[in-house]
């Protein structure tokens, strides 16, 4: 858990609405990108990111102060996205080209050598079932512990370990297919 999340939550619950701005700024990027992966639409992703943070704020009293904030927020984000897709009667999208689909700016990356591999990986990752994909991103992109991945995806620790390992194997298979 990023240092200070718990004391920020305490400040927010004590009435400091601006302390929430720090939490939003800290976690808006992974949540926005989760929504982009789920919907493939920039506008929907922005709306759902806002909705996730507003919903998290409204339910903050229910947050266990001894747990990590980000996995809790991520669970909420996934639920917000799933509710939205159910409402519009859609499945999570299966493919998108992030950099050509959105007006948003992307991280700078100077490592041109790995660029092709990463792009291919990103496309294949999108073909994985949501739970496998998100387990991999939480573990390796966000750097969460297996325990935190389990919290975020509402799995047991052994279930999260299995999801990560199988996710990697599935992704490897997809990458082998040209």
């Amino acid at each position: 858990m990023a240092s200070g999340d718990q004391s920020l939550v305490y400040d927010i619950l004590s009435g400091d609405v601006n302390a929430y701005a720090l939490l939003v700024k800290r976690y808006q990027k992974p949540i926005l990108n989760l929504m982009l992966r789920m919907t493939g639409s920039e506008q929907d992703a922005l709306d759902l990111t806002q909705e996730t943070f507003v919903r998290a704020y409204e339910k903050l009293e229910k947050f266990n102060p001894s747990a990590s904030f980000f996995p809790w927020l991520y669970t909420m984000g996934l639920n917000v996205a799933r509710d939205f897709l159910r409402k519009v009667n859609r499945s999570p999208i299966e493919s998108y080209d992030p950099e050509n689909s959105f007006n948003l700016e992307f991280d700078q990356d100077d490592r041109m050598g790995d660029q092709i591999d990463i792009q291919k990986l990103q496309e294949r990752l999108q073909l994985l079932p949501v739970d496998y994909r998100e387990a991999l991103l939480l573990r390796f992109h966000e750097g969460l512990s297996v325990n935190e991945v389990a919290q975020a995806l509402e799995l047991s620790i052994s279930g999260a370990k299995m999801r990560i390992h199988r996710g990697l194997l599935k992704l490897r298979q997809l990458l082998e297919k040209q």
């Binding site: 009435g15 609405v17 601006n18 929430y20 701005a21 939003v24 704020y57 390796f140 990697l168």
Partner: protein
């Protein structure tokens, strides 16, 4: 067989490394502001507040405390002559627990510009009037200090230094482009439930 297994593990480890390098889209600056515009300050009862504080883990063990204690003592001895400056850290822009007779909230602003000869606060609270709110130099704190009395709402503001240089509040969390190459700081005044609000 063993070699194949080794190769698979190698592949998985490379894939994990590539996942870490995936590029993420950057959220627009306005996102946090939009969220804050949709929420209202919370009010937790003192009992619940205490209960939560008690349940919030403190990440310190007695073993960890020993070197910290020794270091703290050493730092304390070395830093004694500088200690009078330490409270400056607290001087970030904030709403203080004070409401004027007119029901306005008092906001304290601080700017660390010892080189300046004149500092004013300008902003949307008075429609960016040329006549800003003058800040005073606090010799003891070594800071420019100013107070605004504002109704609830969102405001943009900036400091005007030496009557020409416009600078955003370096301690503010939220900023917005003013469209002229500067950044304005954003101030959000809640319902003033007695808590100190950092901006």
């Amino acid at each position: 067989m063993g070699k194949t297994h080794k190769n698979v593990e190698k592949d998985l480890s490379r894939i994990a490394g590539l996942i870490a390098d995936i590029r993420y889209a950057e959220p627009p600056d306005s996102l946090a502001e939009a969220v804050l515009g949709k929420i209202k300050p919370k009010k937790l009862s003192p009992f619940k507040r205490l209960w939560r504080k008690a349940r919030t883990p403190v990440l310190v063990t007695p073993l960890k405390l020993l070197p910290v204690g020794v270091s703290a003592l050493a730092i304390l001895i070395l830093a004694l002559p500088l200690l009078w400056r330490a409270p400056e850290e607290r001087f970030v822009t904030r709403t203080v627990n004070q409401v004027t007779d007119q029901g306005l909230n008092t906001v304290m602003l601080f700017l660390d510009r010892p080189d300046a000869t004149d500092v004013e606060v300008i902003g949307s609270f008075n429609n960016w009037s040329q006549e800003g709110v003058r800040m005073v130099w606090d010799k003891d704190r070594g800071l420019w200090v100013g107070a605004l009395h504002l109704e609830r709402g969102n405001y943009e503001y900036a400091f005007r230094v030496n009557n020409r240089e416009i600078v955003a509040d370096p301690k503010a969390i939220l900023h917005r482009d003013d469209g002229f190459g500067h950044q304005n700081s954003i101030l959000i005044i809640g319902n003033g439930n007695g808590s100190e609000t950092r901006i």
